[in-house]
């Protein structure tokens, strides 16, 4: 009895900081659980959701799964996701191999292109590719029709495969980062052994390197599938106007119906619940594959210097490949957006059009709306990264340092947002603010609702980066400070934070940039007062004002460019991007 009371007391005094941190760390976890619960709760209601008149029933489920339209949407999503994953690997994997395992020149540039590729919003690529390959206005189609006297446009980007292609271009950067990491961790002595025993480079690649890389590639595939299946922005930009739907855009339509339709929240809840389950299963599979990957023991802590494959004249081909990828995924879309922003109406570029370039769309845009978007985006970019850092640091510190069993729960909790696509978080937050908070907590239509979802969504990345960084700080560095008389706060301030400062900064700037460009959550939750800058682009685009949307995009890019540069410089120093 006395012993228990002693333990309790000691923990109470020594663990004050821990318990304060713990309660802080539990907030995002609780938020996610609430969001998921609300989704399931809404999915079993018919009628006025959340009111006493609502009827609890499973009819929504039978309705959704027997609707042929939903089945077509689901088929679209599968085709789209598979295409996206294949295209992402088609570009990401060879470039990762080139950067890590060959002697191709200009590796810093490759890393710059691919890392920054993560930061260039997917909607840029999507808008650009609409301008390139849309059946009606796409310049490529127009040229092909003129050239071969065709009756109709030969390419249609607004199909599941076309959209998957664009999504894949956008996800190649992620595929690159995931697989480059794997190539780097691979034990080069395994390849050297093959070479010493007389195998050629091609044989080694085929018989040793790739089989060893298989778990890593599979993990990357699952990771990309998880993202692809619930992605919203690219299918929305390319497909909504052309009535080609994915699950994510289908949900959007149910929440924001066109014309006189009423929102069908029950249906939304069902599709959301379905996506949660699929994403959860994929995440389970992912962690399984990662665990099995360790069996191969290709990961080594030692500082091996891998033997690089000499490319010789093939370097030129390699750079053509990388350059081609950069051109079609980044440069061409950006150029066309800039062109669209400056032309009075969108037709293929010609000398005559060049004379008509003007800033008229900048004068003509609704500046009140744009400034409102800019203000909201500014608030989000200021608040969200700070909150992410604070929560992420608390969670990471507890995961890495504490020995209580609660840390396993925390680790799982920090991973949850990774398993849940942003679309799900956005709808959950929407349903929560509409039907649970209602008027008692007026979060609906407020920028803070968006902020909360952003914080939760960014936490998985932040805790992962901070965990890695904290793990490298020996526990004794903190303990030495405690024993030497420094208070907990001073220990954090003078010892811990300075040591992980590069990571903190990197996490901060990445969170800021990802918040700045985010479209999914913003589009689902934006009403009037809380519209963000990307949502302004979206509203112009969705209403058919392609040129004005491009003009706002151009404005947005002007702010983005220096930030991306800063991210690159600091990211290189702390190598957070590599995590």
């Amino acid at each position: 009895m006395r012993q228990t009371s002693l333990r309790f007391r000691l923990l109470g005094e020594k663990g004050q900081t821990s318990s304060a941190l713990l309660s802080l760390a539990l907030v995002p976890m609780a938020t996610i659980l609430v969001l998921v619960t609300v989704m399931f709760w809404v999915s079993i209601q018919k009628g006025a959701v959340g009111t006493p008149s609502a009827i609890y029933t499973l009819n929504n489920y039978s309705e959704v799964f027997s609707d042929p339209f939903v089945l077509r949407v689901a088929a679209n999503t599968v085709i789209f996701t598979i295409t996206a994953t294949l295209v992402a690997l088609l570009f990401g994997l060879p470039i990762a191999w080139l950067a890590e395992r060959s002697n191709v020149p200009g590796k810093t540039l490759i890393y710059a292109i691919m890392t920054l590729g993560l930061l260039i919003p997917g909607i840029y690529t999507a808008m650009g590719w609409t301008l390139i390959a849309h059946p009606r206005i796409g310049i490529l189609n127009r040229w092909l029709v003129d050239l071969f006297n065709l009756n109709e446009a030969p390419i249609n980007i607004a199909t599941p495969i076309g959209m998957g292609f664009v999504q894949g271009l956008s996800l190649s950067a992620l595929a690159f980062i995931l697989t480059a990491q794997m190539f780097r961790a691979m034990n080069p002595t395994l390849e050297e052994a093959a070479r010493v025993h007389g195998m050629g480079y091609g044989k080694i690649l085929w018989r040793v390197t790739l089989p060893l890389a298989r778990p890593g590639i599979l993990a990357a595939v699952i990771y990309i599938l998880t993202i692809g299946i619930a992605t919203f922005d690219i299918p929305a930009i390319l497909g909504l106007g052309n009535r080609v739907y994915m699950l994510s855009t289908f949900i959007y339509l149910k929440v924001h119906p066109q014309g006189a339709g009423l929102p069908e929240y029950g249906i939304t809840g069902v599709v959301g619940a379905f996506m949660i389950i699929v994403a959860g299963l994929l995440t389970l599979w992912y962690s399984q594959v990662l665990r099995q990957g360790h069996r191969f023991e290709v990961v080594t802590g030692k500082g091996y210097k891998p033997a690089l494959v000499p490319l010789g004249r093939w370097s030129i081909a390699a750079w053509c490949f990388i350059g081609g990828y950069t051109l079609i995924s980044k440069l061409l879309p950006l150029l066309l957006i800039a062109y669209a922003a400056l032309t009075p109406y969108f037709v293929p570029p010609s000398l005559a059009m060049m004379r008509q370039l003007s800033l008229s769309h900048f004068y003509g845009m609704d500046w009140e709306l744009v400034l409102r978007g800019l203000t909201n985006t500014a608030i989000l970019v200021t608040v969200v990264p700070l909150a992410v850092l604070l929560l992420g640091f608390s969670i990471s510190w507890l995961i890495v340092r504490s020995r209580s069993r609660a840390r396993y729960a925390l680790e799982f909790g920090a991973f949850l947002p990774h398993a849940l696509p942003e679309v799900i978080l956005a709808i959950g937050a929407l349903l929560l603010s509409l039907f649970v908070f209602g008027t008692s907590i007026p979060l609906y239509g407020s920028v803070w609702l968006i902020a909360i979802v952003y914080v939760v969504a960014r936490l998985a990345f932040a805790t992962r980066a901070l965990n890695g960084s904290l793990l490298q700080i020996h526990r004794e560095l903190e303990e030495a400070a405690f024993v030497a008389g420094l208070s907990t706060f001073r220990t954090a301030w003078r010892v811990l934070l300075p040591l992980i400062r590069p990571t903190l900064f990197s996490v901060w700037i990445w969170s800021a940039l990802l918040v700045y460009r985010e479209l999914t959550v913003a589009v689902f939750l934006a009403v009037h007062d809380n519209i963000t800058l990307p949502a302004v682009i979206w509203s112009y685009w969705y209403s058919g004002s392609i040129n004005k949307a491009s003009a706002v995009t151009l404005l947005m890019t002007l702010v983005l460019a220096p930030l991306i540069l800063a991210a690159w410089c600091f990211g290189r120093r702390s190598q957070v991007s590599a995590q």
């Binding site: 006395r2 004794e476 420094l486 001073r490």
Partner: protein
Amino acid sequence: MISISRLQKRFNVSDGVVAAIRSLDLEIAEGELFVIVGASGSGKTTLLRCIAGLETPDAGEIRIAGKVVSSDNPPTWIPPQQRKLGMVFQSYAVWPHLTVCENIALPLAEGSQRIPRREVAQRVQEALRLVQLEEQSDRPATLLSGGQQQRVALARAIAVNSRIVLMDEPLSNLDARLREEVRGKIRELAKQLGSTVLYVTHDQIEAMAIADKIALMQAGELLQVGAPFEIYHKPTCADVAEFFGSVNWLDAQVVEAGVADSPLGKLQIESSSKVGDKVLLGFRPECLSLSDSGANCSNSFQAKIGSSTFLGDQFIYTVIVNERQLFGKNRTIPQSPDGTALCRVSPSDIMVFPSRSKNGG
């Protein structure tokens, strides 16, 4: 200076509870260089961390300089910040973002002691002088060699409090040659400052070389506490004897007062064991003396020389007596041309313990 009674600490691990320290009592006098030695996992670092306040004991009491810092009755807990201890960590824990000088100054200026700026500079200089690092004062700590970083850690510890210093395997990250040099310096410095030092190591030679007093820890308990000479030559149990050096073990039975029947033959022993008692006899390899000829006196046996290894300063060899293999250590291996020798062990060199199931070897 440090006194511990009934200390207990358990850890929750994946497959149950492990008792790291079980009801341990310990008394360390002022100015003493006290070494706790034990195999890894014996609980010695946990004990040190309990004293520093980095672990919370489950029960028992710890006093430092007469003041209770942790107790279950009445419940008391002083956090590490207020225990005012100097501590040297196994990894040195030299803060890599600070210079040598800042490493020592930080706890003085911003720790619980709040020493005024002017005095801080003075104490930093003093500490650096003691460890001979004045020249390196403004260098970033990470640019120093391992040995120098170790000295920074030492300087920081004595600048915080030179009265009581805790050291957790402070030499284990240094190479062998440096280790010998530094352990001499640590002892010298501790005696010069009159510090009470509690020193934890797994290396019995290091412990012998540095300690005023040694405590051997095993499975969360202290087996024996004593001066190095005492603990080496008068171990209270077979485990202690074996930890501090190799031993030739023989199962034997007392056949008359002061004589035991062993696999080697009859051995004279200095023991008060009763006739008929089963005993375990042990003697260290260096106590086995060899000669190529000589009178057949008591406790001497005809032996056949087995293998031998030359280590420079001595040979390590095996001899076979009555089909039992024994280890010996000597500067030379005297033997007659037929490869035999006379080996002898003095009765005062034979340690006698109550019998245990352990087989001789």
